[in-house]
């Protein structure tokens, strides 16, 4: 299945919603029932919950020791009521970091759409379940909306940092989460598409510059920031603000920007944050000790 966002919105008109269309097409193409497609997504949701639990462990450390255990700090701040972002977004960000750190520490995660950007979607969905009474069934439907948006981005541009920079990973993940949030708040399919475009627009140009080529710094922190982008994009669309650019064109713009990025800023670990002396030194010391 290769559909543009505009086509997904059209399919939603015929099928009732983007998620219904996505489930129907996925079932048909893989030769299984819609029930088993939904059961598979529910399984993925359960794995996301486990990843958050594992990632909140303050003793968690990655192979290099650069990341791990930091989500526990965010959780503590959230629990003390000090989070500047409030409970809903504060929770989404905490869970996003927990998932990203679980990933960095060789824990079990669900790529969404990639391992590097795996925290944004589960953070948003699980926070909505705990804070807004979203049921498991609704969460599963929202994940199909997110998957449909991810498919449009993957086929029209890229979801690989090596090809399109971090805008293609965290940008795509934020767009997917924004569209899912709109769905969960009762917004229209067009509003989901607009929210995806707003999220992508806000992360356009984001480079992929992992220190030492590893999925740690700045990756785990970008999962947090991109969560904020997803919520603000969803709020804009839900408030009735229409995206002034056709959403699919924003995806194409993302591809063009990615193509223009120098190789040093596309997952090679040479430019951007990866070139900063302070952390390069630290990583070198760690690796010499190993």
């Amino acid at each position: 299945m290769d559909y543009t966002l505009r086509e997904w919105v059209g399919l939603a008109r015929l099928n009732g919603s983007i998620s219904e269309a996505a489930v129907t097409i996925q079932a048909r193409e893989s030769g299984v029932t819609p029930q088993s497609v939904r059961a598979m997504m529910r399984h993925h949701l359960m794995c996301m919950k486990d990843a958050v639990q594992n990632g909140l462990d303050e003793k968690l450390r990655s192979v290099t020791g650069l990341t791990g255990g930091q989500a526990a700090h965010l959780l503590q701040r959230l629990r003390s009521g000090q989070s500047l972002c409030g409970t809903l977004l504060g929770k989404a960000e905490t869970y996003a970091l927990a998932t990203a750190e679980c990933n960095a520490c060789m824990g079990k995660i669900v790529a969404a759409p990639t391992a590097g950007a795996c925290g944004i979607l589960p953070g948003a969905i699980l926070a909505m379940m705990e804070e807004r009474g979203v049921t498991e069934d609704q969460a599963v439907e929202a994940m199909f909306v997110a998957a449909a948006v991810g498919q449009s981005i993957a086929t029209q541009a890229s979801i690989s940092g090596a090809e399109g920079g971090c805008q293609a990973e965290c940008g795509a993940a934020a767009a997917m989460a924004a569209a899912a949030l709109v769905y969960l708040e009762g917004g229209s399919p067009q509003q989901s598409a607009d929210a995806a475009a707003f999220a992508l627009m806000n992360l356009l140009g984001l480079v992929c510059d992992p220190v030492g080529g590893l999925v740690e710094v700045p990756c785990v922190y970008r999962n947090v920031g991109s969560s904020g982008v997803a919520f603000t994009a969803a709020d804009m669309a839900l408030s009735g603000i229409c995206c002034p650019i056709e959403p699919d064109e924003v995806i194409l713009a993302m591809k063009e920007v990615g193509d223009a990025m120098p190789p040093s800023l596309r997952e090679t670990g040479e430019g951007g944050c990866a070139a900063c002396e302070s952390i390069r030194e630290r990583l070198k010391m760690i690796q010499e000790r190993a």
Partner: protein, 222 residues
Amino acid sequence: MDLFDLIGPVMIGPSSSHTAGAARIGLTARMLLGEKIVRAEIGLHGSFAKTYHGHGTDRAIVGGLLGMPVDDERLRDSLRIAREWGMAYFFHVVSIRGAHPNTVRLSITGESGAVLNMEAASVGGGNIEVHRLNGLQVNFTGKENTMIIRHVDIPGAIANVTGVLAGKGLNIANMQGYRREAGGDAMIVIELDGVPGEDTLEGIRALPCVQGVTFMRRRSDL
């Protein structure tokens, strides 16, 4: 495009290409050999050679060789488990001309003494491509039901094999033939819609031109 490629796979982190894809390469080699591995020579090329430690590429490949799938939490401890299970492994940095940056060159020995040589690349999102098998250039992904037939390059060899499949009502989705030279060692890689029974595999093994048959179920079923 499969929507579970956008939300999924469920995998051990941190990288779909450097960890999940690496584990899949190991697991594919293990399935193709079809028996417990006692010794593995693992050559890492390109980006794999540079960042394998931090990404756990080494543990992922070894875990795959031990038979662990991409979401197996034992992948983290696979180096220790390999020692416990009696699999010796040796890592080398290799440089393969024109190869994809995330390429692994494997030479593995099974408990019966059987040897398998394989070169495969992790091409993104946890997907892999096998590029060389026992000296022959091939190209398959393991995403579909895959049957690999080693045979002698004689007229009618392919027709005999496809005849057995047709007789069992199995549909061929994709087929490629490879050989080094006319009349020499050859290989057929067939992607099937269905899953062949043991009788089908025996039927193909019994053909005079055939030297060996291996079958791997499609990845989503594993």
